[in-house]
Symmetry: C2
Subunit: 341 residues, 2 copies
DNA sequence: CTGTTAGCGCCTTCAA
DNA sequence: TTGAAGGCGCTAACAG
């Protein structure tokens, strides 16, 4: 059924080597022969067997992606970008979904052990030193997406800047008492520092205009609406509660909004809320937030990996993509602004 | 670096054939030899090269998944189930994301052309007759998930029953005027008939208790909140508007809720709304809905495919998974129930 | 420029 | 029960 390179060679009246050469774009073929081979390929509807090719080449021609929280919309969006660029290449995609720490360990171990990928895209987590070392020993070209770190090239967001933008947006509205809720800085021990960077941005924005960093305004809790809700309630119980809250993820922003509603606070009159991510529901719930170019990180990360794979370069390249403030209905001036002035 | 079957053979003092035999669990090996080989494998940390294996076997040992709307939470959940069971097998996973009709055509064509998969999982769409024929000719074992049809084995939901349950839930609350909004019955020409089945369930439930099927209560529109919103407004403008609406997807239910809000209708006092799917936000928005076991369809579909691949059976097997009514805050008795009685 | 041939690593006969 | 050898389809080195 499926024809082989031999069939093509026979049909075109040439040797298999020649067919292989035109297949791989070698310039050492006369135009005439090349044409003969091309028509043979077309006539026979020949498609090279990738496995034979890989075996012979000693390459896997596949890119692995290891990503946690596979179900989160933000991750899916990145995967879409990755899939999109890989679809037009000879590379296959191999997805490793990490849901637990054990699974993470096993994934990294398997990847180097089975040697089934030439390149690896690590999404939203930072390989630790040991993992990085093994990856390099196994000669697996690695690029990180949505995480900083020192070992590999990366495509990331400037989370410090994003955190600063969010905070400045609130400051520009007239807020002085600004709360901050985020996930734990190194959530799940997965080693992503985006949360911390957003916090640093928050801090720097406040410091820049001489506002105090008040520890009672700063909270970390698991990445869920529910936990954010509980923590927001503690904000409201403060003698001098914040008039605005910057949540380091939209999901947590929703928790804050829910708590506000339960407390009878109107948004944005009594409380402003700004999130981070701009996931799909955020527009629906009218949340002001920081948008990051999710799809784009997937695309650029993959292109970067492909580039490195092709060039063999080993300089570490860092691409930083910008964030945008998306202003919707959950932020406004604080209620008592006019009274104070 | 990576050791080969030859290294193992030499180390164990046997021939490569023997190593291959223990690798593949042949019984034609003495226990003693088997042990020798096993320790050799362990000592050398040997892992067989899958590509060589595949080439030799003439099998791809990979499962393809073709799925539309890759970004929808419901699809992601199914993929999770698929990935989960495949992770413990020798099979690789190859995902084809369909976003347009052209892409769909190309995917099906490529899959048979390149012959890169042994088995195929088709999610939420029904292969048409031509596609089915080609798949069979190419000897690609296929299982459908979340779609009915006659060509292949499948794991699906009983959407008729689900539609009936949704409608009966409304009826039990005392509603007699029940609207129905769904996607087009064959949306995007992708050939999924779940929408139609939900409608059939709706119709049967009404008929069962002698309620009329009123065409002005039935609307189809693109799968989006916005379009559902517009259509809901047309419901409300009716001289005798429905007191409850069954939306065939949660997304559309949100559109109905939004319209109700704009119209000043209180939910569930003035209008009951029930959705379908139980996607993640639904709990947050307190939507009563029909839950379907998404992850489970992925798991069972994959297991079914693996089973067929192993047995070579060609009887068409259909697995139907149940749905559940998840009652939350958007359904209640109609306002005028007490007046009427 | 082109044909021939030796692997790539594994599985599977075929003898022994 | 086991070893040796041929072949899966392709690439690359070698000779011409």
């Amino acid at each position: 059924m499926a024809s082989t390179i031999k069939d093509v060679a026979k049909y075109a009246g040439v040797g298999v080597g020649t067919v292989s050469r035109v297949l791989n774009g070698s310039s050492l073929v006369s135009n005439e022969t090349r044409e003969k081979v091309r028509t043979a390929i077309r006539d026979l509807d020949y498609v090279p067997n990738t496995f034979a090719r890989r075996l012979s080449l000693g390459k896997t021609l596949t890119i692995g992606v290891i990503a946690p929280w596979f179900t989160r919309p933000s991750v899916v969006e990145r995967l879409r970008g990755i899939e999109q660029v890989l679809a037009d290449t000879q590379y296959d995609l191999n997805i490793f979904n990490i849901e637990t720490i054990e699974r993470r360990k096993r994934c990294f171990a398997d990847i180097v052990r089975y040697g089934k990928v030439d390149g690896l895209l690590v999404v939203s987590i930072i390989p630790n030193e040991e993992e990085a070392k093994k990856l390099k020993e196994a000669n697996i070209t690695t690029v990180q997406i949505d995480a900083r770190g020192y070992f590999f090239s990366q495509v990331a967001i400037d989370d410090i800047n994003g955190g600063m933008d969010a905070t400045n947006h609130l400051i520009a509205k007239g807020h002085k008492n600004i709360g901050f809720i985020s996930d734990y800085f190194s959530s799940n021990s997965l080693g992503n520092n985006s949360q911390e960077h957003r916090f640093i941005g928050y801090k720097q924005a406040l410091e820049a205009i001489g506002l105090p960093i008040r520890s009672e305004y700063i909270r970390q809790c698991p990445h869920s609406r529910e936990m954010a809700r509980q923590n927001a309630h503690e904000f409201f119980a403060l003698p001098d509660p914040p008039t605005a809250v910057f949540a380091a993820s939209d999901t947590q922003a929703f928790g804050v909004m829910e708590a506000a509603q339960e407390r009878g606070l109107q948004i944005p009159k009594d409380l402003s809320v700004i999130g981070y991510d701009d996931i799909e529901i955020s527009a629906y719930l009218n949340l002001t937030t920081i948008r990051q170019p999710l799809l784009e990180t997937g695309i650029q990360g993959t292109e970067l990996l492909l580039r490195i794979l092709a060039s063999g370069s080993d300089v570490i390249e860092k691409i930083i993509l910008p964030t945008d403030v998306i202003e919707r209905g959950t932020t406004g001036p604080p209620r008592n602004l006019n009274i104070e002035n």
